[in-house]
């Protein structure tokens, strides 16, 4: 079901782990869906004074495709200017991996979203202008997160009750 490229990135992921002193972080995903992706970027000026993603890394909780797309989006973003990186889409990520099974396309969307969010956070923290396309994607991602939270409210409420019980000394949970 997975291409060789997906398996290769899953087996030997690139740029994984936490980045020391990141300029910004993009956090996307929902625990209920089983995919959570954090993408770290370090932005530096290049010789021409442009903002460039000098380093990138990620931490992902997710399936084979989620890990492979994290690895791929980090490869695609590394060394790119912010403007170039903004243009990276989930289709680019999936295509570079030789395609993804239809049910896993959301993983590539997650990877592109994480990059989007990291760049958005960088620009807004530095009071820099946010391109319209980026802002629209950011708003859509926020809306999606809210919709997921709403859809899974019962799950998450129960979870919190569970965690309360765990804190009260429930055995064998998250030990």
């Amino acid at each position: 079901m997975y291409t060789e490229r997906v398996i290769e990135h899953f087996r030997h992921p690139h740029n994984m782990g936490k980045l020391a002193n990141p300029s910004a972080i993009g956090k996307v995903g929902n625990i209920v869906c089983g995919d959570v992706m954090w993408l770290y970027i370090r932005v530096e000026k290049d010789g021409q004074g442009r903002d460039v993603i000098a380093d990138v890394s990620w931490e992902t909780f997710g399936c084979t495709a989620a890990i492979a797309t994290s690895s791929m989006v980090s490869d695609l973003a590394k060394g790119k200017t912010l403007l170039e990186a903004i243009a990276i889409t989930n289709q680019d990520v999936a295509q570079e991996l030789g395609g993804l099974p239809p049910v896993k396309m959301h993983c590539s969307a997650l990877a592109a979203d994480a990059l989007n969010e990291a760049i958005h956070n960088y620009l807004s923290e530095h009071g820099m202008p946010i391109p319209d396309a980026l802002r629209r994607r950011h708003e859509k991602i926020e809306k999606d997160v809210a919709a997921l939270d709403k859809r899974y409210k019962a799950f998450l409420d129960r979870e919190q009750a569970k965690e309360g019980a765990a804190a009260a000394g429930e055995p064998n949970s998250c030990n």
Binding site: V36, G62, T64, I67, C174
Partner: protein, 392 residues
């Protein structure tokens, strides 16, 4: 990899050599249609009826109470839909649990979309339903109770004998999905009216299952045609499959004590070994369980990744992670037993078979901690805090 380790015997099992030997003549030597009048047909008919008698004896039911099907999914469908549309019934209520196999749950869902009512009972943290819950859920119009004998995901055994007695008292048909339990534990068949089983879970062939339909239990057929299986399931009998099912049953009967003891020992080893990895939990009952299934959750990692990493090391197991299911929600069984969401996606089901060895368990217990650590290194979720929250 040449020396692969197969620990996914709840998905399916290898056909045992003696089962294959028993089946072989029924492909090209004894190939008649059991419904034919001539010698070819009569030979095949004898094989089918001898197989039926073998399995009936093992289950302590009458041969005519055994209906062969294409597998357990068909048997579950026949039990539930066949009961719902039994002669002189119109509408009514079914009682089941939240941890049934999809063959049962989706059949019941289909019924509720066609005017029937259903109550799906909660289970406790180990996956067990209490007989009193069943009693309390029964209504005047309840016509069927369907409860899995032993969970295919977490292995927990249900109190089938007690539930059967309650149903008997009330004159309500009782079905149990015994797919994983058949041949593994002593099933209390006298207290069951309908029972589903499958050959390929116990070293028999794929494509053959059965539904026990006790004499006084009325079901409607769901497959119509030539009136095979006493009108309860039309379609030419899968003769080699049925012969293989009987051979697998004989093998299970002969080996059950020995293999069962070995499986219980493996399970105890797994619980101890996996339990020593930080941030894990056993899903299911520690002891009141099928001998061959052990299900664990690993904090901070996702099950499909875990299965794929183990596969790289030549080890086959499975996960209740529904990462590839369209709704992306974790296993309904793990949710029903209250596994925290941060762990429900990170489940691993290890299931042993008659061919499993201590060396297989050694290999898993050697590889698993490394694979878990490797995946946790990639994950934003921190392990070791009660709240399982992402680290900042």
């Amino acid at each position: 990899m040449s020396d692969r380790v197969y620990l996914d015997n709840s998905a399916t099992t290898p056909v045992a050599p003696e089962v294959l030997d028993a089946m072989r003549p029924y492909f090209d030597s004894v190939y008649g249609n059991p419904s034919s009048l001539h010698a070819f047909g009569r030979e095949a008919r004898r094989a089918v009826e001898a197989s039926r008698a073998t399995i009936a004896e093992f289950l302590r039911v009458l041969p005519e109470e055994v209906v062969f099907t294409s597998g357990a999914t068909e048997a579950d469908n026949l039990a539930i839909l066949g009961s719902a549309y039994a002669p002189r019934r119109s509408g009514g209520h079914v009682v089941s649990t939240k941890i049934e196999h999809h063959a049962v749950l989706h059949s019941i869902n289909w019924l509720t979309s066609h005017g029937f009512d259903a109550t799906l009972l909660d289970v406790d943290g180990s996956g067990r339903v209490e007989p009193d819950q069943v009693r309390a859920a029964l209504r005047k119009d309840t016509f069927l109770v369907s409860i899995i004998a032993g969970s295919n995901e977490i292995g927990t055994l249900e109190p089938i004998a007690e539930i059967g007695a309650i149903c008997r008292e009330r004159g309500i048909a009782f079905h149990t999905d015994a797919v994983q339990a058949f041949g593994k534990i002593d099933l209390p068949t006298p207290s069951v009216d309908l029972l589903s089983a499958s050959a390929h879970k116990l070293h028999g062939p794929k494509g053959v299952g059965l539904l026990v339909v006790r004499k006084k239990t009325h079901i409607s057929p769901t497959t119509h045609g030539g009136g095979h299986e006493s009108g309860r399931r039309s379609g030419t009998e899968n003769v080699p499959g049925i012969v293989g099912f009987a051979a697998a049953t004989r093998l299970a009967a002969r080996e059950r004590d020995e293999v069962g003891a070995r499986m219980r020992r493996f399970r105890a080893r797994l619980i101890e070994g996996v339990g020593s990895i930080p941030g894990t939990r056993l899903n299911g009952h520690p002891t009141d369980s099928l001998p061959h299934i052990a299900n664990f959750s690993f904090q901070g990692i996702e099950g499909e990744s875990l299965v794929m990493r183990l596969d790289e090391h030549g080890i086959a197991a499975s996960t209740g992670s529904a990462c590839s299911s369209p709704d992306l929600e974790p296993s309904h069984v793990l949710v029903a037993i209250g596994v925290p969401l941060s762990m429900a996606h990170g489940s691993l089901r290890i299931s042993t078979g008659r061919q499993t060895t201590d060396a297989d368990i050694d290999r898993l217990l050697d590889v698993l901690p490394r694979v878990v650590k490797d995946l946790r290194d990639l994950s934003p979720f921190k392990v070791g805090e009660a709240t399982c929250t992402p680290r900042e």
